[in-house]
């Protein structure tokens, strides 16, 4: 009996612990101890969970410490988990006004943002379960179609089954979208103060242009330690993977 209780107890404790760290971080932020706040917030996420609010708060801490690059990085992470978050977008625009490279980020299509928000509104497994349930119901409905005699009932069951099938398809799509959004590592932020972008994945190639820290890039290809990146104005080139961090 005791053993059965331990696991939920541990979960509870870890949850409250994490919650405490979050509160602690907030207090430290209010007090102006930004570095301590950073430590507390990072402790919240130590078990591998992701949280848009925690990332956002971390972004604020770095901004206060005038580490604009880290601020940008964390705001972008927050937006990945919570697309269209207005606070994060606002703070991010302040950051981009202070980066050395003036690269105008393309605004995302509103529908895309809305869809991402929907896909992320549940956990992946939740969508999967709902999908299985809807599929089962739809199949039962279709099966029933064959068994009932009344024409009216038949019609209801057939259409009902069809609609449920479509719904289940949508749920499956949401599950996939959710997973791909969380797992994609398409974007990164340059952390090196000044980095050269080459025309090929080797230093013996032509130097194309220079990027500075805080610039957001899209990763399009990889080879060994090199990544091919593209910036918002369409320019592409290769850079060492150590020069940026993936969002």
């Amino acid at each position: 009996m005791k053993r059965l209780l331990i696991i939920p107890m541990l979960l509870l404790v870890s949850f409250t612990n994490a919650n405490n760290m979050f509160e602690l971080g907030n207090q430290e932020y209010e007090a102006g101890n930004y570095q301590e706040a950073i430590n507390s917030y990072q402790a919240v996420l130590v078990n591998g969970d992701l949280s848009p609010e925690v990332y956002y708060n971390l972004g604020n801490c770095f901004y206060r410490l005038e580490d604009i690059t880290n601020a940008i990085y964390h705001y972008e992470r927050a937006l990945k988990l919570d697309p269209g978050n207005e606070k994060a977008e606002h703070n991010l625009s302040l950051c981009y006004a202070q980066t050395v490279d003036k690269v105008e980020p393309l605004p995302e299509f509103a529908l895309t943002t809305w869809y991402k928000k929907v896909a992320l509104s549940q956990q992946t497994d939740t969508w999967a379960l709902l999908f299985v349930a809807a599929l089962l119901l739809s199949m039962l409905s279709m099966a029933g179609f064959y068994y009932v005699k009344s024409v009216g009932m038949k019609r209801t069951l057939f259409f009902g089954g069809g609609i449920l099938f479509i719904i289940s398809g949508a749920l499956l799509l949401l599950a996939f979208s959710n997973r791909s959004i969380l797992h994609e590592s398409k974007y990164g932020v340059i952390f090196e103060p000044s980095v050269t972008i080459y025309s090929a994945p080797t230093e013996n190639s032509e130097k194309l242009f220079i990027l500075h820290e805080g610039t957001k890039v899209e990763v399009t290809a990889e080879k060994n330690d090199w990544r091919e990146i593209m910036i918002a104005n369409g320019n592409t080139g290769w850079v060492s993977q150590s020069a940026f961090k993936e969002i």
Binding site: D49, A97, D125, M139, P193, S194
Partner: protein
């Protein structure tokens, strides 16, 4: 002639009182060919833009030389500025030395012309001394040797030209007739005739000579092909040994003037090979080393650093130009200052040329600078070499000024400037949501099983249902078909009875057929068999009223036939009616 010259001189002299004068003066009016004389142009105000006369008929040993002298007598200061030539006539004849011009006090003024008579040169002297002699006879005793250290060189490769005077006579006077022009070479003197001369003794062809090195120059050929180390010419006044002992003793021996010049040396200049020529090659020929250094290895952005690039070695150092520093972008580079520590020795030009660059990094970062590439051609090894200086790590910290200063290098839009005054939104201070990256269900085996299950269920249900329906249709079909068959059998019997004339049998058989058919078809028990019931069921099943009435008639006829005699017509029509009814009911039920 003399009068004319004197007259024109006097005329010109008289004009000197009123304005600037520019006077030409010559020491002699008649001179033997080959003998040097001086022509001096004098102006009494500072002048510029001196344009000399046409001297194509003369050899120019020296000139134009500029000199000025100031004379102070009492309260007055008199300055004079003069341009002088040392000339010698080429061929006998009467020549006019045209006027020279100069700009003084804003006005252009010309000098007077001079007339000079050139008489026979050596011959005249010989007539004087009563001896005929060419200059060849002296060449055994007195000559200048011009040598080059190498006869075949590459473009830009250094060689040394030496002019040595071999003397075994006594001469009382000497002068430079002509300095070598050394066209096509860039030259650096190791020793010039104006330096102090030392004499050594040498034996050549069993004759003793006093040898002096007149000129030693390091040459760098600037074009390919055949170049010439051209002659150096001097004139000597050589004492003649008279046959008269007493003349010699008392120094009354005559002296003769000779022109001595060195033989030219031809130099073949080869072009540099194209094979193996590095891209960074810029004309350096010799043997070099390159090194770089900075004055500071850690700076802040926008601070200046001095980068020194040192090229050390021997060769055409002084012709080296600025190199490509290969710095990352974001560095400002200014034109370098060149510091030389170079010695011109007999063995060649050797030393250090240092380029001092001022560079300013504009952004923070860790850089590696100074890996400057320098290529040169080594003429002794006949190969190109490329040397790269070691790179120097440089740490540039963020500018000491605020962040805004760092991006002042690009202009800020108005929105950006406005944004600087805005502040960030506040933190989330209530709750936070979490998203787990792990998913345990989606994509797992259980998930796919649960996805497949409903489909299986559906197919099973459909299959099962189909089978059931099939079976049911079968049974009913069987019975129905059976019903039809049984009825047909009895109807056939009835037909047979009809044709055989057994009318009673017809009615009997028709009745049996109908009864059996109806019970089977309508699935009713014989106990429930009543006409009303049958008709009820039939009309429920949608059988037409006409059919039901026809059936009623058939059954009635059969009943009646049981109790009364039947006629032929009646049995036939009853039979027909029965068949029709059965057919119609079969269609409906």
């Amino acid at each position: 002639m003399r009068a004319f010259v004197t007259y024109s001189l006097v005329l010109l002299a008289s004009t000197g009182v009123f304005g600037q004068t520019f006077k030409a003066k010559c020491g002699v009016t008649s001179i033997p060919a080959g003998q040097q004389f001086k022509v001096i142009y004098t102006v009494d105000a500072p002048g510029g833009g001196f344009k000399g006369p046409d001297l194509k008929d003369f050899n120019i040993a020296m000139g134009p030389n500029f000199s000025q002298s100031v004379q102070i007598s009492g309260n007055r200061m008199q300055a004079s500025y003069s341009y002088s030539y040392v000339l010698s006539g080429k061929k006998p004849g009467t020549y006019t030395i045209g006027s020279a011009s100069v700009t003084a006090n804003g006005k252009r003024i010309s000098s007077n012309t001079l007339t000079i008579k050139v008489t026979q040169g050596g011959k005249a002297v010989a007539r004087q001394n009563g001896q005929a002699s060419g200059s060849n006879e002296i060449s055994q005793y007195l000559f200048i040797k011009g040598t080059a250290s190498k006869k075949k060189v590459y473009l830009g490769e250094q060689l040394t030209a030496t002019y040595k005077l071999y003397n075994s006579v006594r001469f009382v006077d000497s002068g430079i007739e002509k300095m070598p022009s050394l066209n096509g070479f860039w030259s650096q003197d190791v020793k010039s005739p104006f330096d102090h001369v030392t004499w050594n003794t040498e034996y050549v062809n069993k004759r003793q000579y006093e040898v002096a090195e007149l000129k030693k120059t390091v040459l760098f050929p600037q074009r390919t092909g055949t170049l010439e180390v051209d002659p150096l010419a001097m004139t000597f006044q050589v004492q003649q040994m008279s046959k008269n002992f007493f003349d010699n003793f008392f120094g009354r021996a005559k002296s003769k003037r000779y022109k001595i010049e060195s033989k030219p040396a031809k130099i073949t200049v080869l072009p540099l090979p194209t094979k193996g020529k590095p891209e960074s090659f810029a004309g350096a020929v010799g043997d070099f080393k390159i090194s770089t250094s900075v004055d500071r290895a850690e700076v802040s952005a926008n601070d200046a650093i001095t980068l020194k690039v040192k090229i050390e070695g021997t060769g055409n150092l002084q012709l080296l130009e600025s190199l490509d520093l290969n710095l990352p972008a974001d560095f400002e580079i200014y034109d370098p200052k060149i510091n030389d520590d170079i010695a011109v020795l007999a063995s060649g030009v050797r030393g250090i040329r240092e380029f001092e660059y001022l560079i300013i990094p504009r952004h923070a970062g860790n850089f590696k600078i100074g890996a400057v590439e320098f290529s040169y051609f080594d003429p002794t090894k006949k190969k190109y070499y490329t040397r790269t200086a070691d790179e120097i790590p440089l740490r540039v910290a963020k500018s000491a000024t605020s962040e805004v200063g760092a991006i002042s290098s690009r202009s800020m839009s108005r929105e950006e400037v406005e944004m600087l005054n805005e502040d960030i939104r506040h933190i989330y201070d209530n709750a936070y949501s979490t998203v787990s990256e792990k998913q345990t269900f989606f994509g797992s085996k259980g998930f796919w099983l649960l996805t497949g299950f409903p489909f299986l269920l559906l197919f099973a249900a459909i299959a099962y249902r189909r089978k059931y329906e099939e079976r049911k249709a079968d049974v009913v079909g069987k019975k129905e078909r059976k019903a039809g068959r049984v009825a047909s059998k009895y109807l056939r019997q009835a037909r047979a009875s009809l044709s055989s004339g057994d009318h009673n049998a017809v009615f009997e058989q028709v009745a049996t057929a109908m009864n059996g058919f109806l019970t089977d078809k309508l699935r009713i028990d014989t106990s429930q068999f009543s006409q009303e019931r049958i008709e009820q069921i039939l009309s429920d099943k949608g059988v037409e009223r006409s059919t039901i009435e026809a059936l009623h008639k058939v059954l009635q006829d059969c009943n009646m036939a049981r109790f009364s005699a039947a006629s032929v017509g009646a049995s036939a029509s009853t039979l027909d009616g029965a068949e029709r009814v059965i057919e119609q009911i079969n269609k409906k039920v």
